[in-house]
Symmetry: C2
Subunit: 328 residues, 2 copies
């Protein structure tokens, strides 16, 4: 089997590539070769597998043709301009998140019409397809009503994924990933950054700022779980998924207060004392429009599994990503 | 005010143009000029108003620029490749129903960035954005899960309409129109054709075939109501509509049996005797995936009004469209 990862230089893409190299197979099939693609060429994970690393701007003419010419059996499409950037750069967001995705589907369709090529395509969608007002928990058949250009672009690609799959041009599965906690690295400017920061920084003995109240509730999964979702999706039975090809992934529904209690259980009150509550109304307003929790019944029925507590999220981080952890 | 109607040669477009010419104003504003556009130039309604009729293929480069150069204050976007054709012609359906609509939005956006131009744009969407399984009645916040390429294209344009409106580039309102009954003219090949045919043909003393059972239920409105929806949408307060810009229009929820009973009340048993039940499983299967009825609460709150019975639908037809009626 040949695997293509678009967006392989991102945090999840890198972890996915490392895990596939380490395991050498997927859904019972040996992976012979892997193409890792991002704007900057990702570094190849060390291992037995032949990995080709490419610096490719997928919005450029012909870029996707070259990648699909190798007829990868399995494509992970994780490439995206992130939410804040797509809101700042209207043209850029549509070009990367909508047009490049549609071009990918079109190149696959033309290959399909040529020689019957029909790859499994796993697409990373987003909870940003949902917009307030939202029930808590959000059911699987909730209306997609995004309130950002990024969410609009992801919702459109979900619709295209359904239509191209229904037509038989490709075999698409979309995953709406929870907010990833604990992200490795340092503090960042994302509105969601504090969900990781209030755990990660105190675990390292560093101070962290909390911009919202303890009652704020959100839907979280670890980087390891996210990689597990992508791999599980790659091996799913096509018919079992049905016509609605994008599935909301399971997660841990927790309040910020629940996160802090878990931190105290793992690292004691000296850790939680490092969290300073500095209310930021602009961040509170953004987060307030986000979904709080999901009734992810389809994902459960299809065998997707996430962590069951914030304690687990912390454990995964300490094992895998914390300074001194085992690494990728 | 200057008005542009894209798709002005269709049944609803023609009726809309005639009514606007007859009334000479909309939402309290005088209409000075009107541009009527379709693949074949529509004929100008007779009246005082200056109407310019154009044969334009809106998928051609620059075609939309020319139309928007006149800065119409109000645009009715009714142009579309119909469902069956868009299913047959994948490229054509996406080109007309998605790409031309997006190009229209883009040309408006660039005009907006140039000189602040922000027209009201009324977009004709479709119940085809919904796909089985569906509750009965379908609520306003039902998931858009189309099962045709046409429905996919309409759902995508609904999403774009929300995003372009949220960004302030245009002031969009989308309407999901019910199935139009009684359509003037003769029998046609559309799967929905019989909803009109079983009333229209017997009213003219002609036989008609019914391909589905009496228990089949659907959502209907007259051509006159559809034109009324478009005109009402043109005058709606922007803020009252909120961020979800497309609204399911009110209609009459009726079974085929209910249609036949109404026909008997209006035209007697000699009319209903002209309906021959010739089951067609392929049509029954298509119709079975369609919505049966809607809880169109948003439309009601915004003042959209439809007929309240099949008897009314028949009355509208006899007044307006039946041979010997008053005409457009």
């Amino acid at each position: 089997m040949r695997v293509l990862i678009l967006g392989a230089g991102g945090m999840i893409g890198l972890k996915l590539a490392h895990r596939l190299v380490a395991e050498g197979q997927l859904a019972g099939q040996t992976i012979e070769e892997m193409d890792l693609v991002d704007l900057v060429a990702p570094s190849a994970p060390s291992g037995e597998m032949r990995c080709h690393c490419h610096a490719v701007d997928i919005t450029k003419d012909g870029a996707i043709d070259n990648l699909i010419a190798k007829r990868p059996n399995l494509i992970f499409h994780l490439a995206a301009m992130v939410s804040g950037a797509a809101e700042q750069d209207f043209d850029g967001g549509y070009r990367v998140n909508l047009d490049a995705s549609r071009e990918l589907f079109e190149v696959i369709r033309h290959a399909h019409e040529l020689d019957g090529y029909t790859p499994r395509l796993v697409f990373a969608s987003s909870l940003a397809v949902y917009g307030a007002p939202l029930p808590d928990p959000v059911p699987d058949d909730q209306l997609r009503a995004p309130q950002t250009s990024y969410g609009t672009q992801k919702a459109i690609v979900e619709l295209l994924l359904d239509d191209y799959t229904r037509r038989g041009f490709l075999d698409g599965i979309g995953l709406r990933l929870p907010t990833i906690v604990i992200r490795p690295g340092g503090p960042n400017a994302a509105a969601s950054g504090f969900f990781s920061g209030i755990l990660r920084e105190p675990l390292a003995g560093l101070p962290s700022r909390l911009p919202v109240s303890h009652s704020v509730k959100h839907w979280l999964a670890s980087p390891r779980a996210a990689v597990g979702f992508l791999i599980h999706a790659a091996g799913l039975d096509k018919e079992a998924v049905g016509p609605r090809r994008t599935i909301t992934m399971p997660g841990v529904a927790t309040t910020v207060g629940g996160q802090i209690e878990a931190l105290e259980r793992v690292a004691g009150p000296e850790a939680t004392a490092l969290i300073e509550h500095v209310p930021d109304p602009s961040i509170a307003e953004i987060i307030d429009a986000w979904p709080r929790a999901f009734k992810a019944e389809r994902a459960a029925a299809l065998g997707f599994r996430a962590e069951s507590s914030v304690d687990d999220l912390i454990t995964v981080y300490l094992e895998e990503d914390a300074p001194g952890g085992v690494g990728l």
